[in-house]
């Protein structure tokens, strides 16, 4: 299942909206978008994941990668993830470095 990725800026927040499945095949698209988002220099990057039905470990790696790409003062938020996806993030302990919201 493909992943659709969109990128926009709302005030001081760069919004990445994902829909579909985030796995080894689709994560490279997300990586590219993260690099673009990091270039925007906003204080917050909000990743909207309500439309993500499944996230494999390659998707977790994307989040770690995102953390590395942005400056220290930038907050990365994951918003709207469904329970299995947010559980995957929490189990790996990534909720300690990114803000997991909703």
């Amino acid at each position: 299942m493909p992943l659709s990725v969109s990128l926009s800026i709302e005030g001081d927040t760069t919004v990445i909206e994902l829909a579909g499945e985030l796995d080894a095949d689709t994560a490279p698209d997300f990586h590219q978008t993260i690099e673009k988002a990091a270039g925007h220099g906003t204080r917050t990057i909000e990743i909207r994941m309500a439309g993500v039905a499944y996230m494999a470990s390659a998707g977790l790696r994307s989040l770690v990668f995102a953390q590395q790409k942005v400056a220290d003062h930038v907050t990365i938020k994951v918003v709207g993830a469904i329970e299995p996806v947010s559980r995957t993030i929490r189990t790996a302990g990534l909720d300690r470095s990114i803000v997991l919201d909703g």
Binding site: D23, A27, R61, T91
Partner: protein, 420 residues
């Protein structure tokens, strides 16, 4: 079907009637195009041809550029340039390696020339395909070598203490894997280390990190423990908590996490892992679950499996994080089932997952059921995974390890329940 396709360039001057007659008389499909079209239209719309027939009056460099674009899509045609008067222009083309036709345009001569060019084009295509196949075979060979080397990072044989059974199932999704397992002895064979881990993502990158993480864990654990065994021995401790195994365990996981976050954080690779240290004499287990799917402790008497929840984050993500220790006890008949996410996330052809709930159903034992070994557990789960996956592609590595303490065995501290 014509054996040859000739693309006739419609640029000025137009081809003489004799040349067109000769083309019509041979077994060839003729397509028209202009140089401007060949240079500007999207490559995926470019027509395919064996031979590109062009007037000598069009610049050689432009024809060469057009051929370059054609090569990217449908393969390069052989260029044949014709003229009736401009022999100087023809010479320029010949220097670029283009073939040529000059009057008289007799059908037999034209046909022979174009067919020989068409054969050259075919030969060129065959050679390119052979090159591509050879390149692919060479990649596959490299991957196969990678697979063999990686197999060397898994234990050759499992050291199984008396009174215990260990069974493993390891089925990578690709030639090289991100999953791994390890079983090795610690502190003069008084403790047994069991590791099941899953390096994030797939493919060669994960495989390289698997080799690194496995080595760091094992090396650190093996190098740190003896002094603490001595210390614990002097203290004459009677605690059931196996502090002896706890030190190499904590050292291995924190040192590996420290190394990865100091040196490799930018690459974003990390591993979820379960690392347990068993005291084979007592059945007590001390463990760290670093962001891994909770292993399930299956009681000999059935009932719901007990999940050994995470005690810290995945390894390689957070610098300076704290791992706490978890403790569990395996009594006679009990089984510890450790697995990677390839098990609950096995997918059937329509995309649905096997799921955690189904796994628990499979493992919950009715009270009347006959005793179950670790091998039985692996078989039950593996059968379910294979049935569920069916004809779908295996998406993720599948790794399972079952540590079982048979009922018959009685060590010096053999459990709280009497066995009939």
């Amino acid at each position: 079907m014509p054996s040859t396709t000739v693309m006739v360039l419609g640029d000025h001057p137009p081809p003489p009637g004799a040349l067109l007659d000769a083309l019509r008389s041979m077994d060839a499909e003729v397509v028209g195009a202009t140089l401007a079209e060949l240079l500007s239209c999207p490559v995926e719309l470019l027509p395919a041809a064996d031979v590109l027939l062009a007037p000598a009056e069009v610049p050689g460099a432009s024809v060469r550029e057009a051929v370059r674009r054609l090569r990217r899509w449908a393969g390069a045609p052989i260029v044949v340039v014709w003229t009736v008067a401009d022999f100087a222009a023809l010479e320029d083309h010949v220097r670029l390696g283009h073939d040529y036709l000059v009057p008289p345009f007799l059908p037999a001569l034209v046909s022979a020339r174009l067919l020989s060019c068409s054969e050259r084009a075919e030969l060129g295509r065959t050679l390119r395909e052979a090159d591509a196949r050879a390149a692919l075979m060479s990649y596959e060979k490299e991957l196969e070598i990678g697979r063999e080397i990686q197999a060397g990072f898994l234990p050759e044989a499992l050291p199984v203490p008396d009174g215990w059974e260990i069974d493993v199932l390891f089925r990578p999704a690709r030639q090289v894997a991100g999953d791994f397992y390890d079983v090795f002895e610690l502190v003069h064979r008084r403790r047994l280390a069991l590791v099941v881990a899953d390096v994030c993502d797939k493919g060669v990158g994960s495989a390289l990190f698997m080799a690194l993480i496995r080595s760091l864990l094992r090396h650190t654990a093996e190098q740190s423990g003896l002094q603490h065994l001595v210390a614990a021995g002097r203290a004459g401790s009677s605690r059931r908590i196996p502090v002896v195994g706890a030190t190499p365990l904590l050292n291995a996981v924190t040192a590996t996490n420290g190394y990865l976050t100091r040196n490799h954080l930018r690459q974003g690779y990390f591993a979820t892992l379960f690392f347990g240290v068993l005291d084979p004499a007592t059945g007590s287990l001390v463990y760290i679950n670093g962001g891994h799917n909770p292993p399930l402790l299956l009681d000999a008497d059935g009932g719901l499996p007990v999940a050994l929840d995470v005690t810290g984050p995945a390894v390689g993500v957070l610098p300076d994080c704290v791992y706490t220790l978890g403790y569990a006890q395996l009594n006679p008949g009990d089984t510890l089932f450790v697995f990677t996410d390839g098990v609950p996330e096995a997918r059937c052809p329509d995309g649905s997952f096997l799921g955690d709930a189904r796994m628990l159903d499979l493992l919950a034992l009715p009270p009347s059921a006959p005793p179950r070994t670790g091998r039985d557990v692996l078989d039950v789960v593996d059968t379910a995974v294979r049935r569920h996956t069916g004809k779908a592609e295996q998406h993720d590595d599948v790794t399972m390890l079952a540590l079982h303490r048979p009922r018959a065995a009685r060590g010096p501290h053999a459990g709280r329940r009497a066995v009939a």
